[in-house]
Symmetry: D2
Subunit: 345 residues, 4 copies
């Protein structure tokens, strides 16, 4: 059993990591850290874990973690993460970082959307942990930057047709909707039950920080600089992201042809499911699992392609993808610990 640790275990991503790792056949969680809940048992913070995790939240230095774990998941806010990860690497750990701090290759872009970077020397080394696109780079990586939830849902929806040159990279419009767990577990008025329930809104229109991350991946796929319109919305559900993507078709391939390109692109992927024609993803059908459901239509009236993807933001959008990355890094079966049937209803 390989020893792993979760830094920042008392957010929603943290508890989801512990949920997944508790049943993983080849790893054991040896430490969970939390500043806020230091000294409390994790299963008092999350009684769902009672019987599955008897660890107590600690505050640990990178050095201490280095003695307890070979691989560390950092589920910290951005900025906090970049001050912690270098120490972990120095302590000999491999790291899957779930923050935004190592996702962007270009320091200037990072600093334009976030703040100045305290460990820019790692930006080149960090591997963007989207296995379906970067599997081979992930295997040997010391530091994997686990993708954002929205960018995961968008990149996987658009990758096949964009790389095949079948949609116009200048035409991309992305309308995404996320469940409330995406906003995290900190006590903010805007995240209160009564503020979210029975409502629906757009937010951060034309300026959400996931935009450059989306553009970085899409640019690489398209082979040219891509700018997109990305509009996130807040859904009154716990889990799930659905992204509806609009693109102008290039050329004359029909819907069946486009569908075939997507199917071929993902034919050996264990977590991608392509919906039959006329059938559309629903976040409810991926709840609790690492799957990505993708639907596609071509509107012959306008020549636009509509691609819709659904993921569980806490699994494929965060903790599940992190475990998938760990599996690749440690040479395990890629699906180990991720054989989760979606929970419906």
């Amino acid at each position: 059993m390989i020893q792993v640790a979760v830094v920042g275990a008392t957010g929603y991503t943290g508890v989801e990591l512990v949920r997944l790792l508790a049943r993983h056949p080849q790893v054991v969680v040896t430490a969970v850290t939390s500043r806020q809940y230091e000294g409390q048992r994790l299963d008092m913070v999350f009684p769902s874990l009672r019987g599955f995790c008897d660890l107590t939240c600690e505050e640990l230095t990178p050095e201490e973690l280095g003695q307890r774990a070979q691989l560390v998941f950092t589920a910290l806010p951005h900025k906090t993460a970049m001050n912690f990860v270098p120490g972990l690497l120095r302590a000999g750990c491999r790291v899957v970082d779930l923050s935004a701090d190592y996702r962007l290759r270009d320091q200037a872009v990072y600093e334009a959307w976030y703040q100045s970077h305290s460990s820019p020397q790692l930006l080149d080394e960090a591997v963007y942990g989207l296995p379906e696109l970067y599997r081979e780079q992930i295997r040997p990586a010391r530091l994997v930057a686990n993708p954002g939830c929205y960018p995961t849902s968008v990149a996987l929806a658009l990758a096949p047709l964009l790389r095949a040159g079948l949609i116009d990279p200048a035409s991309l419009i992305i309308d995404s909707k996320s469940g409330a767990s995406g906003a995290g577990r900190s006590a903010k008025t805007a995240s209160l039950f009564c503020e979210v329930n029975e409502g629906f809104k757009a937010y951060a229109v034309a300026n959400h920080r996931h935009t450059p991350e989306i553009e970085q991946t899409l640019s690489q796929l398209a082979g040219c600089a891509v700018l997109v319109n990305f509009t996130p919305h807040l859904l009154p559900v716990n889990r799930g992201i659905l992204s509806t993507c609009y693109a102008q078709r290039c050329g004359t391939v029909d819907e069946a042809g486009l569908r075939r390109v997507v199917a071929d692109f993902y034919q050996d992927e264990p977590f991608i499911r392509l919906c039959p024609a006329g059938d559309w993803p629903n976040t409810a059908y991926v709840q609790g699992s690492n799957h990505v459901d993708i639907g596609l239509a071509l509107d012959p009236r306008t020549g636009r392609v509509i691609l819709v993807s659904a993921i569980d933001n806490l699994v494929k959008g965060a903790a599940g993808q992190a475990v998938q990355n760990m599996n690749l890094m440690l040479g395990f079966e890629e699906t180990a610990g991720l054989d989760l049937v979606p929970l419906f209803p």
Copy 2:
């Protein structure tokens, strides 16, 4: 007090009409009809109405309704409506029809998206009941076609900039999300609580029947034939539609200038509220009221304008707008019976 009737009172639009009319200072509801619940008191079907409506559901002919009411709201499914409305007109009633049957001016378009029309002679006479655009035509109308919920939210979001020529009519992409009451009250598996709750999906992608209705209004505003991409989604909330609309800007007017155009366009409208810059509509903030909240941004990176509108689909998207139309038709204050403060939370 003017006598009015509600035909099809046991759907969600019907009960909402009765809710609004029960407090209207100048009308009295004299009949409510329902095939399914004939003989039952309406307040046994909807106990929320107990104390506000003591009527019993009846099955009435147009002639009988003609003796009981001067104005009739028909809240029937399309196809059923067009077989009922002509009789009401012959019986001397004025009609606000909440179905889709008289919304499209072009019989061929109607028949392409729905089925053959049994009273096409009325298509010319029927007035499209969107007061903010067609107020003066509504006043004298004998038959008002109450707009669809999605088309209302879209037309009001796009009207000012489209009429002003500030956005490209060929570039319109509309991503709409509706609460579950929009699917009606018939007992279908897909509408069950457990099928809708904690999920989110697109449906009828590239072929929803509200598309031609949206295009009809937008074409008139743009002065040219407009085709759009319209994608509806199902929200796990009772009420609310939020439409996120994307359009390429024409010319160089900046965001403040665009905002001014919208503000001027709606300056005397009692039900339109423009959100301040950086503030975005939330369906929760219009719940139970006839208001339309509109937000706007210009993305300088892509030159696209993003317009977001929120309505309560059962009020401004159906029953409230029907009452607003009635007020115009009967010469009442346009806001009579509609002084409803949104219910939050």
Copy 3:
């Protein structure tokens, strides 16, 4: 128009007061106060109010309020309220206090369940503002203690049979369920959307602070000291309280007879609705209104009576009842401003 003010306007009770008062025909809100949002327009905090309230949140002393309003609603946390209310009275205001601070007649009981009381001299003067039971005392009152949400739902369910001696006061078990707005609008982890949604729990079992308030009213009704078991639960809905009350029947009156006693007791009450036999209250049917729905059954197998009541915790359980009390105090029609049809769905 009488001038009124709302102290603590940015909680859920505060915004609901403003919603109701904005449409009240005989009063005008002249001031809204908030420490946290001082200097901000109330309709920026609650965009639902846009167009209905153009006031800015202020921090005002009792003296300043005394110059702006004849009657003040204090929607402050307990303890804060008792330090503010005496000044308001000195400034000549009449007060409807929505906190717990003046509800209990017995200072010792208050101090056992809360903390020491800073203005105990007002406990005798304060009138418990449950109009259905204490209407005549409320009319002349200078200080009305607006009842708690749970106690309102319980007292009105049990009052008729308890006063008639038809149920055993020693046998009362009360199982209540409240929507999340009852927990207020402060930013606590336990109130986050993801902590409440799709869950259900009991809390404060056998020690909730509304217990002595419930017992005070029931004791008065029964004419003897009553102890109850009261168990509150948290419902994943915005609004609504449903209380299921169990009592051993005294004597041999059958279900129809018990129902008749309740019907007679409430026969002239504008806000009480008794469900027909076999029909049960649903919080959805009172949403947004000041109504109380009551259902009743006698289980002949066990001899127990089950009484179920439903209210909207923010209306009859807080702001609506406060307006009802104000109407009595100011000599208005008791239902003024409260002609609200429940919003369903």
Copy 4:
């Protein structure tokens, strides 16, 4: 791998059985039946299962099932079940029946609450499948009657103190709340999203059919005939039952002592979790898992014990318990296929 089949696979219990069995290490599902969806792939009915089950819904006779499976789960409505199960037994299958048809030992009681029984000869043979109470009888059983969801939550809450004689069997009041999946997947108006969402109600007060099933188990535990008051309520959540049980304490054992009795009773049970003092079950903490969380308090003021239990109605309340029974019947590890960490949030 043992071959099993699911009869009635397209209800919520059916899909949950398939979800659990798909990952069970020692069985393979060889047939799924459905009258309504005959000929359709199960993963078109439930896209959540895509990739986990490639079976097509069939209509099969008991004889045909006997050739395909050694053990059959019947997830049929009551009455339908009792006409199908005898044939399965004749065909040599062992059966876990999830209907109510074989739960009651006394034919007269069954017929008083349901209808006349077509295979009463099996009532003696059938074993009530609550492993924590009847484990040894279940192992060799040919026919196991899987308990109802409410009765499971109630029996497990009350068993320890009732068997120990520490609570008065004449005093039991049970207030239960269930998620909407408990009402099944048939298309009824009362189960529509908009009828359930944002509401809460009691139903079947004093006459729910689970009452005699509850009383049968409690009577056996108490050693005397027990009558209870049982009030079910409908929660606007997908999954979960929370039962709040009230009982008069016998004797003078204090809360810690009572807690110890419960802890001892369940000390070796893999699925029972006792909450620490002051901590209470939440249905959210057992979502998707086979666990039962139990909380307890003694109210010293009234001498009543309050016991609260939470289960996932589709897992421990139906499909999970059925798998647990199968594990016992087939000599597997009792927890096989049930190592499910609850999904939170």
